[in-house]
Amino acid sequence: MTALAVARATVLRALRDRTALFFMVLLPVAIIVVIGITVSGFDRFRVGVVPAPRQGPVARELVADLRSDTGLRTRVFGSAGDARNALRRAELDAVVVMPAGLDEDVRSGRSVAVPVLVEPSGNAGHSAVSTVSAVVAGHAAKLQAARFAAQEAGGTFETNLDRARGVERAASPIAVRAETVDGVSEFLPLGYSYSTPTMLVLFVFVNALAGGAAIVQTRRTGVYTRVLAAPVPSRALVLGETAAYLLLALVQSVLIVGIGALAFGVSWGDPLAAAALVGVWALVGTGAGVLAGALFRTPEQVHALGPSLGITLGMLGGCMWPLALVPGWLRTVGHAVPHAWAVDAWTELLSRGGDLGAILTDLLVLLGFAVVLLTLASLALRHRLTTSDRT
């Protein structure tokens, strides 16, 4: 009951602290939006399209097909020169130049080539050409069908082209699924599905560390001394503070998960596994926060060092960029901090559809971090409360 009284007071104070609420909810959401927008579209090729002057309906339809393809992010240019400049500035992966007289050539049965420009140094260029080729091939198939129908059954090219379009819409598409044998994705999906879980990992930890300042402040006001003069064991005081910070970390996590799902369409994967991961990560953050509250001497120290430490650990642990992109030794170093294991687990859940069993190792490692941090925090805080002249 006394632990509950301590926890209640701490939660009440935190909920009244507008600055803390800003760091707890608004800042994480703002950064999720910024990073989400920044990294969204990295899985689509940037293609410039240069329409031909006075192009016919067939050419216009091809441009429309290119623009509606989900694998391409297209930008229409008024001239080939402008598109080339954008390509040189690496603003594009490829440029499609619509040939003049495409409609006439198609109707007369002549072969048509659609030029696609790429930069020799651009890694994504050739992959972009493949995607453009697939769109052009799909378009060409309709044209061939229309010509074939016109030759065999008569009728105008336009009439048969409309039929071909209708048949294409009615027929069940044949899907192509690419699968890498024994391969797994090492990345979170891009966009908000990348920024939301990584920022959840980063901010729950940073916020918990910053929360240590409140513990230092309470120590310095003498409230803890007074609490211990009451019939309250030091372990109840530590338990109360720990429970309060755990609750705050969980509330923050649930808010980020909820906002991610509702506002940004993030799919968090297996609910049980996601809940377990959120819970264990909140424990890790709580342990770090209470430990900071026990070790630091002034709230200013916590404010100055806590977020820097949290962000550094977050960078090491893959919250800012995927650890799959860094050298092997840095990846190994990164896994010395809990963040890497949490990001690994979210990657498993979001990118590979993993369940609780699939992230069990990550959870156990994180639980180990949590136990160590909470034990150290409890020992340090109890030591601080019971031995020093002024706690």
């Binding site: 001394t225 009451a230 019939p231």
Partner: protein, 320 residues
Amino acid sequence: MNDAAPQPVLDCAHLVRRFGDRTAVDDVSLRIAPGETYGLLGPNGAGKTTAIRMVCGLLRPDAGTVRVAGLPVSTAAGPAKRLIGFVPQEVALYPDLSVRENLRFFGRLYRLPRRRLEARVAEVLDLIGLTARARDRVDSLSGGMRRRLNIGAGLVHAPTLLVLDEPTVGVDPQSRHAILESVTRFGEQGMAVLYTTHYMEEAERLCDRVGIIDRGRLIAEGTPRELVSLVAERDRVRLTAVGDLDAFARACRRFTRVEGAARGGDRDDVVEVVVKDARSLLPELLDLAHRQGVHVRSVEIDEPDLETVFLHLTGTALRE
């Protein structure tokens, strides 16, 4: 106190506490009866706060025992702690919670049932005169109000023994008066009060008995009248002067008839000297001052008080 006396509320026996080589509290024993206000008087660093921390179970004694109403006090959360109300020197409250929330918080620590808690909170708010500010945050209160609330937080659970550690330090005169009035009422209501201070006049005004502590040792104990009677035949000479007053005080102590001399009082330009028969020694003191280049502006010869007692017992001023 004899064997027939009622059981003391507080019974400290031979308390010792060392910090490294320094003995902060050295064999201190004291007892407080129900309804008695006991003043622990001593200068800063004398060991008052260390003694209080042991009384409240915040610090483990190296030797000795503390009992409250017969129950042993330890640093564990034992039943004796339910009987103690601790008011620390600093304002130990949550600044961002309201007055009422703070009182509720401290009441909950003593596991008061909800209805009893609410009733006690209302009583304490009335007692400390903060009912109208109950919903306000502590950091919006004046310094004096915070001090009163600081005391109120120690009263919510209706303690048998109230321990106040220098509650008037840094308090404006009006709030100080209010605090002293409150403490007087606590004693009248039957609560035992342990009150530490280095303000002699507070001890004289409030306390039924006073213990004088210096360098960790309880060097005298009794009612203010009993203590003053120790120096009844002495005079306290207050010399208001300009010059090297520390050197002058040291020189005064060399006179055999001087029992104590120190810079002291409320002002920096005063030297207090405890002597037997001040009138006969005064010319020699003035001559000494002249030889030391100290210009004496005024001389007062006062009746002895607790300050005189302290000067007599320790040779130094209470506030040195």
